[in-house]
Symmetry: D2
Subunit: 290 residues, 4 copies
């Protein structure tokens, strides 16, 4: 629930807006006027899009009245400058839902990291179309829902998933090697709030069987990519990627084994960054304050 350096009670403000001269100073002034103590801050001006991004970490020990007043002032900047912002306070942990299928490695990985304190969130529930995930969720004390899917039941089960997710007050949906395509309706309901892991170095090898595609191409490295889900398959804004060497000796099975390592790390990193309010999306790309 805290920043990476173990600091206590830190809030995070994320803003982006069209760039204009003096914006850094204005924002510093606004925070100062509200008696908000800045703990850490970084910004980034994108030359090609003329957009400005800033992440401010501040001492969150301010009263509810101060919080409200701060939000009113930020709202005024939005009206005046087209600034988009959001604030996260440490006294409310984000809630996530994990959707899994038969492959267990990413599910296990997220649950273990959470248990080790690496992911500042509550894992509200696990949903899987396979029953095997049940005992895993149970081992970690997380509610589990088995929603098997056939062509016939897909729409109904997805509606059920929405009910569960919304009923649990979920902030972020993590697709942990979830092997079902989500419908556009589902995706559009949670913009910027679904993170997927794809088993290739996108944009290479879109779609299924990416390790087989890589093997057939004879590449010397394989990769994994985590991204926000949009309606375009495997085309959403990329959050994180990693690669590892492979050789002609590596069968599809070996590539799959090597790739699991990447998938786990890349997904967990993307989820952690999202939970720590480090990621903003603009123009189909991410800005990550790491």
């Amino acid at each position: 629930m805290s920043g990476p350096a173990g600091a206590a009670a830190v809030g995070t403000l994320l803003v982006h807006s069209p760039h204009r001269k003096g914006i850094v100073t204005s924002l510093a002034q606004l925070l100062s006027d509200h008696d908000v103590t800045v703990v850490d801050s970084s910004h980034y001006s994108d030359a090609s899009s003329q957009m400005f991004f800033q992440r401010v970490q501040f001492d969150a020990s301010i009263s509810a009245v101060q919080r409200d007043a701060l939000e009113v002032s930020l709202g005024a900047m939005t009206a005046r400058d087209g600034m988009v912002w959001r604030i996260a306070y440490p006294d409310r942990a984000k809630r996530i839902a994990i959707l899994a299928s038969k492959q267990e490695h990413c599910l296990y990985d997220l649950l273990i990291r959470h248990r080790a304190g690496e992911l500042a969130c509550t894992i509200a529930l696990v949903i899987s179309n396979h029953p095997e995930a049940g005992p895993i969720a149970k081992h970690f004390g997380v509610p589990f829902h088995h929603l098997p899917i056939t062509a016939e039941t897909k729409q109904r089960q997805e509606s059920r998933a929405v009910e569960l997710v919304d009923g649990a007050g979920v902030d972020l949906i993590v697709l942990a090697r979830y092997m079902q395509l989500l419908t556009p309706g589902f995706v559009q309901k949670y913009p910027g709030r679904i993170i997927n892991i794809h088993h290739s170095f996108l944009p290479a090898f879109v779609g299924g069987n990416a390790y087989r595609q890589a093997h057939e191409k004879g590449v010397k490295m394989i990769g994994a990519t985590s991204h926000y889900v949009t309606d375009d398959l495997d085309q959403g804004p990329i959050i994180e990627q990693a690669t590892v060497r492979c050789t002609h000796r590596d069968s599809v099975e070996v590539l799959t084994r090597k790739g699991r390592e990447l998938e786990k790390q890349v997904l967990a990193t993307a989820v952690r960054w999202h939970l720590e309010d480090r990621v903003m999306v603009a123009g189909g790309k991410t800005v990550v304050f790491d």
Copy 2:
């Protein structure tokens, strides 16, 4: 001119053939029959294609008569088993031609590595369509030819390049960020003997402006790929690849700078492996005995 462990006077035999039971033993027997002392050996059986690959390093201090007899026996295996083979002896250094354009980093890199003894070859000549490469070649004592290219002169200059390459007895042509497309005629003349460096992690970002493509996509890693040149643009058998992290902060210029590092290393590694007879091509992919 020696193997990586500094061994002296080592010859290299590369073979590939359809797999059959006992092939390792037959080849060991054949070499033994010819009194060839094996120094190092590795093989690889490809399960999907049922192909067998072997690289044998042997004590090359055998007489010309022995060499001839060995080749006769290998020829018999070719006739009987469909085996493809080639032998390289250390007393003949391979000769390479470097084709360059305006970007100098790969050209410099290859020349410096050669000077440092990393590349066991003679750099027979440098050809560029820009005059700036002239003083560089001269500094390293390598013959230089300036062949400027326009739409009109392209065909003629390429013929001139063929004359120069063939006149110099060149074994390998290295495209060191050579920005001209080669004609099919040129490519087909040197099968498996032209190595290119492409500034992306293929198969992503084929063609020109790969760093701009990467920037627009918002990837979190960029790559470089060295491959043998075939008639399909950027589709030839991949020899080596590498990647490096990038962030949203990296402009196209920064990606280009970071990419230059990859390009230099990946091209030099591919060239070195080729010169050390570590690479075989089959089925559009490479087997690299590194």
Copy 3:
């Protein structure tokens, strides 16, 4: 239980000996004489120590009589040439014991990899001086033994561990972040059969609190090292190492989190290589046929 390429029923022969001319051919001949079909083979001659190493994978579908005859012939080579060898057949899975303490990440990691089929072995038991590992072992269906250790009970509990390990017919002991120093007696009982993971890039930062040592030094990368355990603390033959970048922003806690990734991977890789009979030790160093 099979090699990495999914081949069925493959045996592995590891040999090392003082180098002598013709050794590759002799060994090929010996195997051929016993009608052993070589599937894969690699060797390595160490120039500085004048030692020869070879790993041969062969079709293990030979009779018990053939196996015995093969071992007799290998025994003769040992007598004559000072060759050291061992053979592993796929019909007997190796058995391992995991020793753990309070940190769970390596324990979980090994159990999950085993469940996913990455580690060709039987996990015979888990021993920990902390009770928390019990439910974890149980979740994966592995026998668990809680041996709490105090200064007073250490000797007795170690004797108990020896009984358990020996009683379970264990081939390899894996120290999965086991935070107790083993006595020389224990170590000497299992030469080349105990693998440890140390949380630094050895030989830097020997001993405890390696991440704190790294933080105080201000290094820009941290590492992890797996090695066979010998009587010299953190000095045994290194099997595998890995590193990851860090920055001045990384507190000891962040280094610890980053390091856990390395520890898991490096330990799992070392264990997998050992189980696949890829590692030989000579002169205080390892030869790894990967």
Copy 4:
């Protein structure tokens, strides 16, 4: 001469001071009062030392009068808060001296990167105790001085080097695999202004023959470290490190070849960061705003 995003005419202010509440806001206010437009800014509060670090990039198109006034105000903060600061303006390129010995790779690398525009500086001179560097410096149009060193002449030649360096108005001295130990007098004259490249992953393998030490230890990765030079051999504040895999097959010669890659990159990165005013030293460690 510009920041990484190609921005024009950007000045850089670096500050560090004991941390106190409100310091970010005070500094923002100070800059605002002087009509300085912040382009980019990042800061870092070190929890263990309670130190605060900030790097501000600002629009440098301010008058000489404004510059003076700004420095007066910063001076007042120094007096009041113990703040240490320095400013760099883009209209004055830093000047560097390269000290080299027989190994050429780092020398070539720096000269080529400078020529490619990667290093925002003037290379004022090259000094070497070997004559071979002369033609290299000449090829790049850089003044060269040959100062051969014997036990007898060492002191005198070092004094000559000081004269040359000071006469050329040098800001930074780069030891590009300079194989001579500098005297304490020399080192103390240029605190935080001499960058060295060491051919190991420090603190492992201090001193000479680091690749041989690594080979004897049997490590599975080698590294390189760039650091500011202090009186303690190879113990100065680390700026950058990198590592690469190696295997038992790699002789000392191969390690040396692989290590050259690391040395080039790590040294060039450290020099670039220093030239771009990204590095501050405190408590024997560096803070790098990359």
